[in-house]
Assembly symmetry: C2
Homo-oligomer: 334 residues x 2
């Protein structure tokens, strides 16, 4: 919020991502199979397809989403000072997205598109095993381009955090490249989350180069990091990471996470989960906890533990925006 008045104010993390409203509903496995969805993955769909799928979906609820935006919202809830760049349309769901991210305490000054496609929606089918299957209509997200990346914002941010999903559109990718140049010119850092194994498959070579040359902090889950290095085991991918990546936080669901920076390697347990409801947002919240830990100057193991605590908290509820305060989790790592 301060940013609007003071472009030079310090930002912990500036996120660049798709601005999406999630439409969440429970679904039986039979429905996911019948609709031919790739369970557990994020698939891009066009307007006709998203409307078809919506008609087949059960009663739903709408909660602001978007992987990077979820991370920024959680960072704010943890007492950080994040900002977000992403495009909505000036429609009702666009208002919902903008309201929710600002109300969460994230600086958000991207102007809504006046015409063009509607605000993006992600239909999330949550099966009885708490797994989520995502079908995303990008809508107004396709409006995001280099012109949205304002130099003052990037220069003011300690870390600029990019979402791998942005590679699926050339204009958004160009926005990421611009942000990367500005950040490094100002001595700032770039973080990247690989987002989804299929997304990694589409852009493997670009991501490998990017990760080796431009990325200061990499976030990936097991499926994504093994997809990146076409590895058959996590450990095989880990050895590649140690050779090619300066700093990575790799999540493994119930198996916890592994944090690697130079010679430092930490193997962190997952935090206990009382009642598994919906895994939507687990990775987003891990990244939030980890980045908040870095911002607070915690050691890497504590950063990982804070990430695990945040991930555990979000999967005990429906949707990826925390319903309960996250700040009490800070007491468990200090």
């Amino acid at each position: 919020m301060q940013i609007a008045q003071s472009p030079s104010a310090a930002i912990d993390v500036l996120g660049l991502g798709n601005a999406i409203v999630d439409v969440l509903a429970y679904a039986e496995d039979a429905l996911v199979a019948e609709l031919g969805l790739i369970k557990g993955a994020m698939t891009l769909v066009d307007e006709e397809r998203v409307e078809f799928l919506y008609r087949r979906m059960g009663p739903a609820r709408e909660v602001s989403g978007g992987s990077c935006a979820n991370t920024m919202a959680a960072l704010a809830a943890l007492g950080g000072n994040p900002a977000f760049i992403g495009r909505v349309k000036a429609d009702q769901l666009g208002q919902v997205f903008a309201h929710d991210i600002r109300a969460a305490g994230v600086a958000f000054r991207s102007r809504p598109a006046v015409d063009g496609p509607a605000t993006a929606r992600c239909l999330i089918f949550v099966t009885p095993d708490a797994q989520r299957t995502m079908q995303t209509y990008l809508g107004a997200c396709v409006e995001l381009g280099p012109e949205d990346v304002e130099e003052d914002l990037v220069a003011a941010a300690q870390i600029t955090y990019l979402e791998g999903y942005l590679w699926d559109r050339p204009e958004a990718k160009a926005a990421c490249r611009k942000a990367t140049s500005i950040a490094h010119a100002h001595g700032r850092q770039i973080a990247l989350t690989l987002s989804d194994p299929f997304c990694v498959g589409r852009w493997r070579e670009e991501f490998r180069t990017l990760v080796e040359q431009e990325v200061d902090i990499l976030f990936a889950n097991e499926a994504e990091i093994t997809a990146l290095y076409e590895a058959s085991t996590f450990d095989e991918a880990l050895q590649q990471v140690r050779r090619h990546v300066r700093f990575a936080a790799l999540t493994r669901g119930a198996k916890g996470s592994v944090v690697v920076r130079g010679d430092e390697v930490h193997v962190i347990d997952a935090a206990p989960v009382t009642r598994l409801v919906d895994t939507t947002g687990a990775g987003d919240l891990y990244a939030a906890g980890f980045l908040r830990g870095l911002g607070m100057g915690l050691d890497l193991a504590a950063c990982g533990r804070l990430g695990s605590l945040c991930a555990a908290r979000i999967i005990e509820q429906f949707g990826a925006r925390a319903e309960q305060p996250l700040r009490p989790l800070l007491d468990q790592v200090r």
Copy 2:
């Protein structure tokens, strides 16, 4: 759904009500006080006010709502065959409302308004005591009028269920009067829920006449029934009910409910609640359980118990549309 193809298909209950999308957020008591809201009540607000209040609200989630629509959705979840009449606009929130009620299994054929005000929203501030304070912008609901009440639908419904909130607009009230005439001409029944004590205060004399002359089944909570009869105690109101109302189900929160039909009087305990989260929809779900019990031919005490079970279930979650299946509750009363 069958109704669209077959106007003569039997409907358990046809609901007439405001078609609203709820915008739910947690709020501290201090915020509710600072904004000058009447805690626990439903207040009608204009567009400017709803936008002001939304800006002050925390991160929210959107769930279809509307008291009567909630009851119809729960009736369908209990295996009933309900229909709903209400007006949305052809905008994104209107699509959300229509999708959710149809996906819940409720026949809904009201056409969305092409122009005029946006789909109605109800901002719900949920305080730490789980109490809900509602601020409603009626929007497209004001389009509902007698022309929306189709004779075949009313004639096909065993019970037509009216929401007291509709009295706040002359056209909607006229729709209710038309539905009442049609229902009685076809030997069908009229149910009414009093909705809110302030609404009762605005229309006390009309409601008293209506309840005495036209209503076959009355639903009210303690605050509403004491407001109707300007009684100082529940028992005082109860004695008035026994003199003036043929059949009433009166809810009292944690104190349970009292069902009165002629000489029959049942005092029903509230069902146990594991974790009180949000009282939104307690009355709506009680009515659904009660009406479903009637439709199944259960005795009145069992109808009351089913109502209590449904109410208990809905206050263990956020919002008034059940996230968990309601059908297992039927086993507890059969």
